[in-house]
């Protein structure tokens, strides 16, 4: 599928910002199932300097500095992306079992497998604990295929947790999410990653967009699409597979990847420092995913 994604981020400050430095992860990366054909970032007011690079995880990182006073910052990222289905969506019940996967992870000497172990370890926002392990264990019987078990975990999170946009901030500790049984897509992704890591399986955080389809007979609203987050798990023989616990599915053609990392912190859409700006800036984000 070919999409044009328009992602507009707007900050309104109560006081003038004299200058600022920012790092954005807003340009879709390329991956096995996705090619970014074209992308363009516009900053208002105009940036004094900007640069773009590929970061440690292979994501597109966009840096800019603004050196003129402003009370409103607008970043418009427009990208043309071509996506495909994941190859595994055919049959989750084939493939290696959980026990075999564990065995391979412990024994194998393949470089890609060794490097995937980075995604088993704790990261700044995801720390493994017994509660996560206990929650996940029932789905991962030794002789069950790993991907089927992961899908089962995805389904359980979808069923047992309530999607509740007001319930969390970015920094919700996993323990709270687990206890309150509610959260947003970031929390569910973090939760499932934590579960997988607790059992020793590499898992990474994927940020991106999801194309939403209008109700039958209605016109699609511009800007109604949202930033989204899901996760990817590593199977020692089959590679990385993306699951979406918020929607109880494997990531599909409609899942457009921006960036991946160990958790949200690695791929924050926009971070940086500002000088001035006053109290509590207002943030508005609008995303529009259109087929082209």
């Amino acid at each position: 599928m070919r999409y044009r994604v328009k992602h507009i981020t707007e900050y309104l400050y109560s006081d003038s910002v004299s200058h600022c430095y920012n790092l954005a992860h807003m340009i879709p990366r390329s991956s096995l199932r996705q090619t970014c054909l074209h992308s363009d970032v516009k900053i208002s007011p105009m940036a004094a300097h900007s640069s773009r690079r590929e970061d440690y995880f292979g994501n597109q990182a966009y840096h800019f500095e603004i050196q003129r006073p402003h009370k409103k910052l607008v970043i418009t990222a427009t990208s043309d992306v071509e996506t495909q289905e994941q190859s595994a969506s055919v049959d989750l019940d084939l493939g290696i079992t959980c026990a075999e996967a564990r065995e391979q992870l412990a024994q194998s000497t393949r470089p890609d497998l060794l490097l995937s172990k980075e995604f088993i370890l704790d990261s700044s926002m995801i720390r493994v604990n017994d509660e996560l392990r206990d929650f996940a264990t029932p789905s991962f019987e030794d002789d069950r295929p790993l991907l089927s078990a992961t899908m089962e975990l995805t389904r359980r999170i979808f069923k047992e947790f309530t999607y509740c946009p007001e319930s969390t901030t970015i920094a919700t500790p996993l323990a709270d999410v687990l206890k309150n049984r509610k959260g947003v897509c970031q929390d569910f992704a973090h939760l499932q990653i934590g579960c997988l890591r607790a059992l020793g399986f590499p898992a990474k955080y994927v940020s991106g967009y999801l194309e939403t389809l209008p109700p039958p007979g209605k016109e699609k609203l511009v800007g109604a699409d949202a930033s989204h987050a899901w996760l990817s798990v590593y199977s020692p023989t089959e590679g990385w597979f993306e699951f979406d616990p918020t929607n109880n599915c494997l990531a599909s053609e409609q899942h457009i990847i921006t960036a991946w990392g160990r958790d949200f912190y690695d791929v924050t859409p926009l971070k940086g420092v500002i000088f001035g700006g006053g109290e509590s800036p207002v943030l508005n984000v609008s995303v529009d995913v259109a087929r082209v």
Binding site: S18, Y21, N22, L23, A48, H49, S51, R53, D55, Y56, F57, H63, E65, Q67, T109, P111, L114, L115, K117, E118, L121, D122, D266, K271, G272, V273, F275, G276
Partner: protein, 855 residues
């Protein structure tokens, strides 16, 4: 306590200084048969003949030099007085050049290896792909900063500086305890130790055939300069976290010695993809940064976002190669002690051989076998967190109770990868001077290597530190350990080419840089001038008031009130004596004492002097050693103040203030006589003149504007003359009863009087004419010029008879004139700070003393 123990020892004081060994196997001085090793002969012989008495004299001299050089080490846990004079034990550590050759070769090899590791771990990570190290060993360490992937450093080496802590093991061989790779400290202290040793023990040093240190620092300067991406006159700066850092002395010392600017985070800014230093004349591009700030704190955009010590976007400029940082950001990764476990294999992989210099044995709890071993031997091992951070320190299991061991076990089991364990080692013993004799103390040596063309250069020597007790386990300056100079003793006379004296390697001229001082430094000099003058003016006034209150002629209550109100007004210590009760006016001692010495009373003499000392610390690298000595005198006088005022104000309190006035006079005299007339000096003098003008205006306003009874008037005028140093000139000139017009003439208008108001204004005018400014085609005056001209003209055009004219008990014309001058001066101060000083928007005030500014 001290005098008591000294007298005790006098009875038994030996005339010789000799060293007895207690544990031959560990002692570095003696061989297996208990005889001193040959390279120790000369030193032990000299110490023996010198004896404790002469040695004590050298110690006193050394302390004085260290103090005058401002050599301090800040101990974080001691909030009341964090700054300690650097502790140097004058008995050096000796290593024969034969042995050193071995150690040096080992250190060179190790630096090369660490350089290759840095390149691989932030590059292809072949060490993981080839299964030399397990992936977790790298990925679980907080020092592995993924944002630092892709930084390139010009030249053959990525790792510019490498320091190593070494200890002599039980077999007598040197063994590596830790590596320091992000911003190794200590080389500057080693240099200071050497400088002091060569001054206090000159003949011993000269005759001992000691390898010199200068070439190491030359190499360091050359290497740093060569890193510049911009070949034309590269600008290298030393980035310090600031005056409160534990090793700030070293940062200033380094910057000065190598001829680089010392900057703090607020002095640097990223613009248009480059790093710039905010200087007096605008922004100057920075090419190379020798940083003394830890990795995580260097860039709030990509690393720790709450850091106030870094520069926003620094990392992106470094990745783009537009600035080079030494050591490169992310190099703290190599301090990961897990690597010690795998070092033999890493070395075989990257260098093709095992390392000559062995490292301390190391178990990593992330490895199941090691974990088992560690848990079984917890009470005999040292447990170390793999990442150094405040609150995460090593513990020796042997010192823990059963309960504590249980807690430690739990902590390890929760996050096993985060801990390593090492055997508890007994360090080699060195003779150290304590309590009038030489006693064995455990020691460790920090060595330093710097990259050069082709290979590394190792400092011939290093920083030796010794434990406080023979049985000390922790040797760290944070717990009060002493340091030693380290002498590599040549068995043959030194090649004259090596005999370069340290002073030959002194900094290159910085003439071109004089104007490019960081504006923060200039601002500190400006405030140093203002605070010094403010304290001096307060002291003079207080001294005068003490004399008047305790004088043989009793003064009227009204007059007493007026004098005391002047104190409050001039020192800005409201409410103080303003509208005070009769009782307070009659018994002012307690409040007056507070105005002198209450550090928490903003405006007191002590608070001003503390602020002045703070500014001096912040601009330390620009102050001469003479100036630093006088600043120490101020510090001394300040600490003695409490003792001399402890009896209250009963007996001649003015004399207690004399040492401070003298020290402050010496400071201003020194600035006048021996500071280079650069912009730093100019701003300090502007601060001084501005403050003196304000103070004089204020005193005149308080003492002369209200009309007083004739007897009182005489006392008030005399007080005015005394407090602005004018009484003697007045008497010489007028030989008459003191009159208002002639007094005002002397203190306001007489430009031959160096303390008169007009004299200050004229000097200010001269300074302002010489400040840097953008070339301007037009001829209109700048706002600063207009302001100073207004103030100056206001005074010049005054007529004494009009100033003396009274209306409803007030000299209104005088009052108006003084108010105009005062307002102009306040405006001038603001104009100067707006134009020349650097304003950090997020930053705090330099020194909080704000009620002055509203005065």
């Amino acid at each position: 306590m001290q005098s008591q123990s000294a007298s005790q020892f006098q009875l038994v004081e030996p005339s010789e200084l000799t060293y007895q060994h207690s544990d031959t196997a560990r002692d570095e001085v003696f061989d297996a048969d208990g005889n001193p090793k040959p390279h120790w002969d000369k030193l032990l012989g000299s110490l023996k003949t010198m004896g404790p008495r002469a040695f004590n004299d050298r110690i006193t001299k050394a302390r004085r030099i260290l103090r005058d050089d401002g050599a301090t080490y800040n101990i974080y846990s001691n909030k009341a007085s964090p700054s300690h004079t650097w502790g140097l034990d004058l008995v050096p550590s000796l290593i024969s050049s034969e042995e050193w050759a071995q150690i040096e070769a080992g250190l060179l090899e190790r630096a090369e290896l660490f350089n290759l590791m840095l390149r691989d771990l932030y590059g292809p990570r072949d060490l993981i792909r080839q299964r030399v190290i397990p992936p977790e060993a790298l990925f679980c360490h907080q020092g592995f900063l993924r944002a630092c992937q892709g930084i390139q450093v010009p030249g053959e080496h990525e790792l510019i500086l490498h320091a190593v802590d070494l200890m002599r093991g039980e077999d007598g061989e040197m063994c590596v305890l830790t590596d320091r790779t992000q911003s190794p400290s200590g080389a500057g202290y080693a240099l200071e130790n050497r400088t002091v040793m060569s001054r206090v023990l000159p003949s011993l040093f000269r005759n001992s055939q000691v390898h010199r240190l200068a070439s190491f620092f030359q190499q360091m300067r050359a290497k740093l300069t060569s890193l510049s991406p911009n070949q034309d006159q590269p600008r290298v700066v030393v980035l310090t976290p600031g005056a409160h850092n534990e090793t700030y002395f070293e940062h200033a010392y380094f910057a000065n010695y190598l001829g680089f600017h010392l900057v703090q985070s607020g002095d640097l800014v990223v613009r248009n993809g480059y790093v710039w230093m905010k200087a007096l004349d605008g922004l100057s591009r920075v090419d190379v940064i020798l940083r003394r700030v830890d990795d995580l704190f260097c860039d709030p955009v990509e690393l720790r976002s709450d850091s106030q010590l870094g520069v926003a976007n620094l990392l992106e400029v470094a990745r783009a190669g537009r600035v080079v940082i030494a050591n490169p950001l992310g190099s703290g990764l190599l301090e990961n002690p897990i690597f010690l476990k795998y070092l033999p294999e890493i070395s075989k992989e990257l260098l093709g051989r095992e390392l000559r210099l062995k490292s301390v044995e190391n178990w990593w709890c992330g490895d199941p076998k090691d974990l088992q071993y560690v848990l079984a031997h917890l009470d005999s091992l040292v447990i170390k967190p793999i990442f150094r951070a405040p609150g995460r320190t090593s513990v020796y299991g042997g010192t823990l109770t059963k309960e504590e061991l249980g807690e430690l076990r739990q902590r390890i089991l929760q996050r096993p990868m985060q801990y390593v364990a090492q055997p508890s080692l007994e360090a080699g013993l060195l003779p150290s001077y304590c309590h009038q004799q030489l006693a064995p103390r455990p020691s460790i040596l920090r060595s330093f290597a710097v990259a050069g063309s082709g290979s590394y250069t190792v400092m011939p020597g290093g920083l030796t530190r010794v434990g406080v007790e023979e049985s000390s386990f922790v040797i760290s300056n944070q717990v009060g350990s002493q340091s030693k100079d380290t002498w590599i003793i040549s068995s043959e006379p030194m090649d004259p080419a090596y005999q370069t004296d340290i002073s030959d390697a002194a900094a290159p001229t910085r003439d071109a840089d004089l104007i490019s001082l960081p504006s923060r430094v200039v601002e500190n000099l400006f405030w140093m001038g203002r605070y010094a003058e403010r304290a001096e003016a307060s002291l003079r006034l207080l001294r005068t008031v003490f004399m008047m209150l305790n004088g043989e002629e009793p003064i009227s209550r009204a007059c007493q009130r007026q004098l005391l109100e002047t104190v409050t007004s001039v020192t800005a210590t409201r409410p103080g004596f303003l509208n005070a009760s009769e009782e307070l006016i009659a018994n002012p001692d307690e409040q007056l004492l507070r105005v002198v010495e209450d550090a928490d009373l903003s405006g007191s003499v002590r608070s001003n002097l503390n602020a002045m000392l703070y500014c001096a610390d912040e601009s330390k690298e620009l102050l001469s050693s003479d100036t630093l000595r006088v600043i120490n005198d101020v510090r001394d006088a300040l600490s003695e103040l409490e003792a001399s005022l402890s009896g209250g104000l009963a007996a001649a309190p003015e004399e207690a203030l004399d040492p401070l006035v003298t020290a402050l006079m010496a400071l201003s005299g020194l600035a006048h006589e021996s500071m280079v007339r650069d912009f730093g000096w100019r701003f300090m003098d502007i601060g001084r003149r501005l403050e003196r003008s304000l103070q004089t205006t204020n005193i005149i306003n308080n003492l002369v504007v209200p009309e007083a009874a004739p007897a009182d008037q005489h006392i008030l005028l005399e007080s005015l003359l005394l407090s602005v140093e004018g009484l003697i000139s007045y008497r010489r000139r007028y030989r008459a009863r003191i009159g208002v017009q002639s007094t005002l003439d002397l203190v306001m208008m007489d430009t031959t009087n160096p303390r008169s108001l007009l004299h200050q204004l004229e000097r200010l005018h001269q300074h302002i004419d010489k400040l840097p400014r953008a070339p301007e085609a037009r001829h209109e005056l700048s706002p600063e010029e207009r302001t100073i001209l207004q103030a100056e003209t206001q005074v010049k055009l005054s007529l004494l008879t009009e100033l003396n004219a009274r209306e409803d008990g007030q000299r209104t014309q005088l009052q108006q004139t003084l108010a105009n001058v005062s307002q102009a001066l306040g405006g001038l101060s603001e104009l100067i700070s707006d134009k020349y000083f650097n304003h950090r928007e997020t930053s705090r005030q330099l020194v909080s003393n704000s009620n002055w500014e509203n005065n």
